[in-house]
């Protein structure tokens, strides 16, 4: 950070502003952009120190664009790693050494990197991963499908889910702010549905690009950075407790609990910087509720509009965060629901499982897992409408 007159500037020369100002108050201008381009715009305003990349469709373009920011001086360290396993370890090294970090991956890349995610959480690294969800092998698919998210739910990372490019932009900025809180300090994974968001253009409101988040201060972290600049001089990250005795078992256990507790402590910060863990859409009186995430939520909103034409009142509860799970928000939002549909972009219904778990004995609504599409299928709102009309015993005539 350098002081220039009254203003603080980051190393790229941008004026440092409060996160609240950047997220909520700064004037915004409308642009027409893809989700990948929006990643660049968010990183540009985030005083990012380091990013490591590896090609995989559909996230490659976002990673290329972060590379352009490095050339332009907005990002300090950038290179292509050898594989997603290597990349996620390299970015961990960057984070341990005190950098604000972001990386991106998709599908098979996520699974190749898997061993790293609990290590990030256990080492309390506030790394941000933008996950552009795509199918996982086998058979090979590069198409949108979010099965990979189910593997990440218990890694100790926060998992957020953006519906569109605008939300992705805001979530990337908020992601750094929340993940780096000293009492949180765990990784954040921002998910979007690959292609639907990464490769399509939509209008997005952006603040000016000469302002940026305050730089990351590693000396506020709950564990010292690995830089030989902060006591204690004798410091091993992670805390290696692999001894065969009861104290080490108890230490490991309490550490695991603490990582989960840290995610819980993120709730008030998420409310502050994202507004809410959920978003509600449609007639609040409606007792037909579609609970979904990301593109599934977008299509559900469209389905609610179509259902209105059929004389059926329905509404959407969109989950912005899966970890922490918006338990109370969801229970409150479906209080009067008679039936809950869970549209998803995968074959297993991981979101339905989550919803059943948290609504068990908290809702009398019937929970219907579906409709589901996968392997690259789109989710036309009509298939949601059809499921709802079928459930109501109504004639399905406008849906083809």
């Amino acid at each position: 950070m350098q002081k220039l007159g009254e203003e603080l500037r980051n190393r790229a020369g941008q004026k440092i502003v409060d996160p609240e100002y950047l997220l909520f108050e700064a004037p915004r201008e409308k642009v027409f952009m893809t989700g990948s381009e929006v990643v660049k715009e968010a990183v540009k305003r985030a005083s990012v120190d380091a990013s490591v990349s590896y090609p995989i469709t559909p996230q490659s373009e976002a990673a290329h664009l972060i590379g352009e920011l490095w050339v332009e001086g907005y990002v300090g360290v950038y290179f292509r790693g050898e594989s997603e396993f290597g990349v996620m370890s390299e970015i961990a090294g960057c984070s341990m050494a005190g950098a604000r970090t972001i990386t991106t991956t998709s599908g098979p890349g996520t699974l190749r990197a898997m061993e790293n995610f609990p290590m990030w959480a256990g080492s309390r690294l506030p790394i941000q991963l933008v996950l552009m969800a795509r199918g996982i092998n086998s058979p090979l698919s590069i198409q949108p499908d979010d099965l990979e998210v189910s593997f990440l739910l218990d890694t100790g990372c926060m998992v957020w889910y953006a519906e569109n490019a605008q939300e992705l932009f805001d979530m990337i900025l908020a992601g750094f702010v929340v993940a780096e809180q000293p009492d949180v300090h765990v990784p954040v994974i921002n998910v979007i549905n690959g292609f639907f968001i990464s490769h399509t253009r939509e209008s997005v409101m952006l603040p000016p690009d000469d302002i940026a988040l305050p730089p990351y201060n590693p000396y506020k972290a709950p564990m010292p950075p690995i830089d030989m600049e902060m006591p204690p001089g004798r410091f091993l990250r992670d805390p290696f407790v692999m001894k065969s005795n009861y104290i080490s078992y108890a230490t490991h256990t309490s550490w695991q609990f603490e990582v989960r507790a840290a995610i819980e402590r993120a709730r008030p910060y998420i409310k502050k910087y994202l507004g809410s863990l959920i978003e509600e859409f449609g007639d609040p009186e409606a007792d037909i509720v579609l609970v979904s995430t990301g593109t599934g939520a977008a299509q559900s909103k469209e389905a609610v509009r179509l259902l209105e034409d059929e004389g059926v009142k329905a509404r959407v509860v969109k989950l912005r965060t899966i970890r922490p799970f918006p338990i109370n928000e969801l229970r409150q939002a479906v209080k009067n629901a008679k039936v809950i549909f869970v549209p998803e972009f995968n074959v297993v219904g991981w979101l339905e499982r989550e919803i059943r778990r948290y609504l068990y004995k908290h809702s009398d609504a019937e929970i219907i897992g579906g409709p589901r599409v996968a392997g690259g299928m789109t989710m036309p709102p009509e298939i949601i409408v059809k499921d709802v009309l079928n459930y109501l015993g109504k004639e399905v005539k406008h849906v083809y």
Partner: protein, 286 residues
């Protein structure tokens, strides 16, 4: 230099264990000429170790830590194995992350420290077993060499997966019977030092740790060359006395035996490394 992080608040000194006070007062900081000759007098950076009694890895650790030219700004990245149990006892900032990703983590640390502290020398060293370096982590090891990362990689080759109970590794010699090779190893020992040369390392050594002075020399050379030129690699024989059935006072003899055959001293120095080494000799640092 970051010696300050070892300074103890005067008001708290009475509550601090003597071995921690010794780190501030009796360890050699800020002196690139430190070396194994200090061992009997100076406070060591290794408090104790949790290896088997007489394990040659413990000697290697002591010699290496005594030889670091810049301990106050040195970071060591480790991997899973017998060595990792020693790391909580090392008075430096160290990392244990996963089994086999040590050169990737070290890459991120080195590059970030260069970005955060452009005016300071921060040495980053990797120290891991043969399984970690040559088998499961080979990709990360070699890729860091290809990328010319300014890191020193040290492999403790005990020719076995010791920590998991004695399984065959890539550096086990052909024919040796270990677990998972019940008929004897079917293929030759991996010549990792040669791979390191072919992959772009500028200073490469193969030897045992039987001679403390020699360890000091090669560690210093490797660190200086990594600082200024690119990757360096040290391949040390640190026999697993437990798995080859030796007594705790047999380690040194075993190494001396092998000094005459497969761990005969071998050194490779690239032309750029020659220059650095010559310069450091002139400065009296080697």
């Amino acid at each position: 230099m970051s010696i300050n992080i070892f300074k103890i608040n005067e008001d708290l000194k009475e509550f601090i264990p003597q071995e921690v006070i010794d780190l501030e007062e009796k360890a050699t900081w800020g002196n690139p000429k430190r070396g194994v000759m200090d061992l009997p007098y100076a406070k060591e950076l290794l408090e104790e170790h949790s290896l088997c009694a007489g394990c040659p890895e413990s000697m290697a650790f002591r010699y290496i830590l005594a030889s670091l030219p810049n301990p106050e700004d040195t970071i060591i990245v480790n991997s899973t194995g017998c060595t990792s149990l020693v790391f909580p006892h090392i008075a430096l900032h160290t990392v244990h992350s996963l089994f086999g990703n040590q050169n990737a983590v070290a890459t991120g640390i080195k590059r970030t420290l260069e970005w955060r502290f452009p005016d300071k020398v921060k040495d980053v060293i990797v120290l891991a077993g043969d399984g970690a370096t040559v088998d499961i982590g080979l990709d990360c090891t070699l890729q860091s060499f290809f990328r010319q990362e300014k890191i020193t990689t040290i492999c403790f080759d005990n020719e076995v997966y010791a920590n998991t109970g004695g399984q065959e590794s890539g550096t086990t010699v052909q024919g040796h019977v270990f677990k998972m090779a019940p008929k004897g190893k079917q293929w030759p020992k991996v010549q990792m030092w040669q791979l390191a040369i072919d992959s772009g390392c500028h200073y490469v050594v193969r030897m045992s740790v039987s001679s403390p002075k020699k360890v000091e020399q090669v560690v210093k050379k490797a660190i200086y060359v990594a600082r200024e030129v690119g990757p360096t690699y040290l391949h040390f024989y640190t026999p697993c006395i437990l798995e080859i059935g030796l007594n705790s006072d047999d380690g040194l003899m075993e190494m001396r035996d092998k000094d005459k055959e497969r761990f005969k001293f071998f050194e490779y120095v690239s032309p750029q490394a020659e220059e650095v080494i010559a310069k450091k000799k002139e400065e009296g640092l080697l």
